[in-house]
């Protein structure tokens, strides 16, 4: 009953936010567009559906296992959709379409880099993750090491990644919603933050998973529909499409050549490493591997997820190319009706304009709702990952040393979710004017340098000790953050210094070796008795990693 009243209060809050939607558009806000009713109605339908699911999920969320991992009862196919939903953010839909629109082939190269990490995760990590972990990836790094110290380290780097990723998503959400729905930036930020808190606190992983599944289906359907309608204008001929696109694009035939984006080999390789191994170190992605029954389903999830991701990237590539002609040659979409000028709403709006051009206001409304839903789903997954780092790692294992009751652990994670929600709202408002690209870069860079090396070493290298893990983890975290801080995108563009101290934008190529090297050196030189025990304990861990015997099961633990 108490849960019901909570839900009621939350719905009340939402209604307040919804009323703000209906307010008249503020005059004079240049970038803001007229209130888009199609989008708002469709989005409200999405919210109502997901609220219904949250209500249903709240009755099924009783134990910590339910809250963190949906009781481990998600099937491989469902989890595959949810991973795809978690991984493909609004940046994918809008940013990559815009990149293809502006730079052609370069955008396609980026997509391959985003995709290529998945097979590697499957071959080297998926089954070990499932066999060793329970709720968070720190369960694996701390499996045979000092619980308190290693979990604290893993929780700090998880929270760092989550916060930077949250900023990027929140700022993106605010700007997008301002444009699409004609809402105030701050209202949009509050709406996202509050909805996220409701989903996660009441529905835990069950609700979050279903929000992601629904959103993934909407994204795949909407994208495919727009691509289909747009591509049909070229008789589904790639030849015709490219002939027309290269004829009108300012790059001309260069459109299909690798361009300036990856011209420098160090940046290209560093970006490749960061995207590939950053994916394998994102806490909200790793967490999804604990929601399935066993290693078998974990493998299947990657198969489905990577299939959806690969398919959708190719859809986006076609959307971007069609946009060059359909959007790029239509003065209606440019400010002041000037072809080649500034796109209405900014460069990221290509996908939206394309949907309007091929499907009218209905399709635009649908795609706008999809974009909002996408942000909401990704933000919810992040909040849950951050909350579990606080409640499961810091509270239950470090502070209470494993003696916390399930009820108190769930309570802490709900409080943590609400705190993270407010942190996300505040950060979103503080960073409104900030360039969000470097936040995403930082999140992937930190994940690749701080989370991935220690995680993979703990699974594969017998010799890893607590001391090595701590130096490797903190070393990777600090060096990747510093490399980004000293790079051009922060040191010059944000802090207005004359020249960057670190010449490359991508930290992974440099910070990852530092993490591996520190972990190796400080493990090798660790001759304590404790280290000896930790190395011995690897044998049992190894058998469990290989066979799954003793792994946290889907039923109660």
């Amino acid at each position: 009953m108490r849960r019901l009243t909570h839900l009621g209060t939350a719905l009340g809050l939402l209604a307040v936010a919804a009323m703000a939607y209906a307010g008249p558009p503020v005059e004079g806000a240049m970038e803001k567009q007229a209130t888009n009713w199609h989008a708002i109605i469709m989005f409200c339908l999405f919210v109502m559906m997901t609220m219904g699911i949250t209500y249903w999920a709240s009755s099924r969320t009783k134990s910590t296992a339910d809250f963190y991992t949906a009781g481990g009862g998600i099937t491989g196919f469902q989890n595959g959709l949810a991973i795809a939903g978690d991984y493909m953010s609004a940046a994918t839909l809008l940013g990559l379409t815009a990149m293809v629109y502006g730079q052609g082939y370069d955008g396609y190269i980026y997509m391959l880099a985003f995709f290529a990490g998945w097979p590697i995760i499957l071959f080297l990590m998926a089954e070990r993750l499932r066999n060793l972990g329970k709720f968070t990836f720190s369960d694996i790094t701390a499996y045979r090491l000092d619980q308190g110290k290693v979990r604290t380290m893993a929780a700090i780097s998880s929270l760092t990644v989550v916060c930077f990723y949250l900023i990027a998503q929140m700022v993106g959400a605010g700007q997008l919603i301002k444009l699409l729905f004609g809402l105030e930036y701050n209202v949009a930020i509050f709406a996202v933050g509050i909805l996220m808190m409701v989903y996660v606190t009441f529905g835990g992983m069950v609700a979050t998973t279903w929000v992601q599944i629904i959103k993934a289906c909407m994204l795949l359907t909407g994208g495919t529909l727009v691509m289909f309608l747009a591509f049909s204008q070229f008789g589904f001929s790639f030849q015709t499409l490219l002939e027309k696109a290269t004829a009108v694009h300012k790059l001309g035939p260069q459109l299909m050549y690798p361009g300036s984006l990856l011209a420098d080999p160090v940046t290209a390789i560093s970006l490749g490493l960061g995207l590939m191994f950053g994916t394998a170190g994102l806490p909200h992605i790793l967490m999804r591997f604990f929601t399935v029954t066993d290693a078998r389903e974990a493998r299947k999830s990657v198969l489905y997820a990577s299939g959806f991701v690969a398919y959708f990237f190719n859809v986006i590539f076609l959307m971007g190319l069609c946009g060059i002609i359909i959007v790029g040659q239509n003065p209606e979409f440019f400010e002041g009706g000037q072809l080649g000028g500034k796109l209405i709403g900014g460069g990221n709006m290509v996908a939206m304009h394309l949907s309007k051009a091929v499907g009218g206001d209905m399709l635009l409304g649908f795609l706008a709702a999809v974009a909002f839903a996408t942000i909401l789903a990704v933000v919810s997954g992040l909040a849950l990952a951050g909350a579990s780092a606080i409640s499961h790692d810091l509270y239950a294992r470090v502070i209470k040393k494993g003696a916390a009751s399930e009820a108190s652990e769930i309570r802490v994670s709900k409080i943590a979710t609400i705190c993270l929600g407010f942190v996300a709202i505040i950060l979103g408002i503080l960073f409104e004017k900030q360039n969000i690209a470097f936040m995403v870069g930082l999140a992937f860079g930190v994940a690749a340098a701080a989370n991935f090396p220690v995680l993979i070493l703990s699974m594969y290298w017998k010799g890893l000790t607590t001391r090595g893990a701590l130096f490797g983890g903190y070393g990777g975290l600090i060096s990747s953050v510093l490399f980004v801080l000293f790079s051009k995108s922060v040191w010059v563009d944000v802090l207005h210094n004359a020249a960057p101290l670190f010449p490359y934008a991508q930290p992974a190529l440099f910070a990852m070796p530092i993490a591996f090297l520190l972990a190796y050196i400080f493990s090798k030189t660790d001759s304590s008795v404790r280290a000896g025990h930790e190395i011995e304990a690897f044998e049992d861990q190894y058998v469990r990693a290989q066979t799954g015997y003793g792994a946290a099961s889907a039923s109660n633990h």
Partner: protein, 106 residues
């Protein structure tokens, strides 16, 4: 999840077989993906012009697009191959190992 169970499983020759067979398979596939992907990144960095060539005279399809599309499909096929083999052959072997360790337990 006693240590004795793990000890018995480790001693089972089938365990070594599982580890070496699956390890070899997984690392081979990982090596193929990594070398193709980073090989491609190298071409992007050092010889971008090669990727802009059309696959055939008069065709708008470039080598770069064809190669990438191939990699999307090929990498995904590799995941399918791995999942198929792991979910049948390796899982069956794993179950045997666990079962045999249980039997010895009794």
């Amino acid at each position: 999840m006693s240590s004795a169970m793990y000890e018995r499983m480790r001693a089972n020759p089938k365990f070594k077989e599982l580890v070496s067979r699956r390890g070899r398979f997984a690392w081979t596939l990982a090596f193929i993906v990594l070398s193709m992907f980073y090989g491609f990144v190298m071409v992007v960095a050092f010889n971008p012009a090669a990727l802009g060539q059309p696959v055939a005279e008069g065709s708008m399809l470039t080598v770069g697009v064809a190669v990438e599309l191939f990699m999307f499909i090929f990498f995904w096929s590799l995941t399918a191959v791995y999942v198929k083999r792991a979910n049948s052959e390796f899982d069956a072997l794993t179950q045997e190992i666990v079962k045999e360790a249980w039997k010895e337990n009794k």
